[in-house]
Amino acid sequence: MTTALQAGLISCHFCHTLSKLPESIDGEIINKNTEIYCPCCHSSLYSRIPNSLNRTWALLLAALILYIPANTLPVMTVIFWGEGQPDTILSGVMHLFAEGMWPLALLIFLASIFIPILKLLTLTGLLISIHFRAHWRPKDRTIMYRITEFIGRWSMVDIFVIALLVALVQFGNTASVSPNLGALSFAAVVILTMFAAQTFDPRLIWDAIEEDSAKETEK
């Protein structure tokens, strides 16, 4: 079992063409900062996403910070007969439960509370496991990464519901819905975690194991 990195090859992120990691191009010695391009699709080539860990940490921390206003500030205010009632994400879910719309409450709970927490925890866990060069279940960690990357965007459903309600329920003082700052914070959390998942490189999960077993055979 050989990885591309060990074989001195780079796989193109887009077209999967394998190129030789060149030591020099036209006599010029390649250092880490020299950009090289895929011979087929001309995308820039890299063995691992550059600065993957730092960028993922930065995006994740930004998301964690914005997660606080996203959950404490109201996401929308429903005005009914002149009386406004601001709702946070959690209180919105509670209202749905109280009104007996539990399938809906469950859906919003999954999309707006469960999935974002799962995503923040999974990405944090993956980053920490890479820092400690963990050998623990690399395949399961890769699958967990794939799941978070896939389901993360569905958290946007609540933002779209708010947008639709704002667009539809506009009857002046009798009944209207207005969006609040919490909605923007929540959308930012979803978008930041989507970027964080995109810039995370799952190959790093396997690198620690590869490198350690290479050291083992040297001994």
Binding site: H42, V157, A163
Partner: protein, 217 residues
């Protein structure tokens, strides 16, 4: 290497070497039979797929999708009737409503995810696939396809569809909701978009580029 039921592959056909995108393991994949999928033996990532007529089918779904996308934008999706007043909402007016409610950033997010990225996906896919069919794809047009692959997750119409269903249930108790003409077109649009992303096999596009550029996998 790791494929489902690989018995109809000819022995002298070319084996392609590919590094797993998720774990970097180099694997040799024999030519795949129709509907066969190759997975990584170490981490289960999907490596390659072989789909019949992927280019033609995807092109058909993309053109259908584009027509439905235009119709979806011409008429209202939903109308709400309450106290003798009617309020209509379409795809673009949803984004606009947030702009008018002094939430320009939120409005921009809605505009990008429910209008601009889906439009780019549909138009871009049609353009790229026609380029492939006429064998005119080159590394400059491939730039567009790379952009489409990178921004694939940002078109969120199927999530917007789910939001429409949620809004329907929420409002159903309180007011009369009238389904607009566009809602039917919109449902079909979601169907064509999901068929599009299911039938699209990016490797077919890259192979077409590869044949022109003379590189091997």
């Amino acid at each position: 290497m790791a494929s489902n039921h690989s018995n109809n592959t000819s022995p002298h056909a070319q084996v392609s070497h590919i590094a797993c995108p998720d774990c970097d393991l180099i694997l040799s994949v024999p030519p795949l039979a129709v509907n066969e999928v190759a997975y990584c033996i170490r981490c289960d990532a999907t490596l390659l797929r072989n789909q019949k007529n992927s280019i033609d089918r995807t092109l058909a779904f993309a053109i259908t999708g584009l027509i439905l996308f235009v119709i979806s934008n011409l008429f209202p999706l939903l109308s709400l009737k309450a106290m003798g007043l009617t309020q209509e909402s379409s795809l673009l007016s949803t984004a606009l409503a947030l702009f008018e409610a002094d939430r320009p950033l939120l409005s921009l997010i809605i505009l990008l995810t429910t209008f601009i990225f889906p439009a780019i996906t549909l138009l871009g896919t049609i353009y790229i696939l026609i380029q492939v069919k006429t064998n005119r794809i080159n590394r400059y047009t491939a730039l567009l396809f790379r952009f489409l692959r990178r921004t694939d997750a940002w078109g969120m119409l199927e999530i917007f569809m789910l939001a429409i269903l949620v809004a329907l249930v929420k409002l159903g108790d309180v007011a009369d909701v009238i389904y607009g003409v566009s809602l039917y077109a919109f449902c079909l649009l979601i169907l064509s978009l999901s068929l599009l992303s299911y039938s699209l096999n990016p490797q077919d596009v890259w192979n077409s580029l590869r044949n022109k550029q003379g590189c091997s996998l």
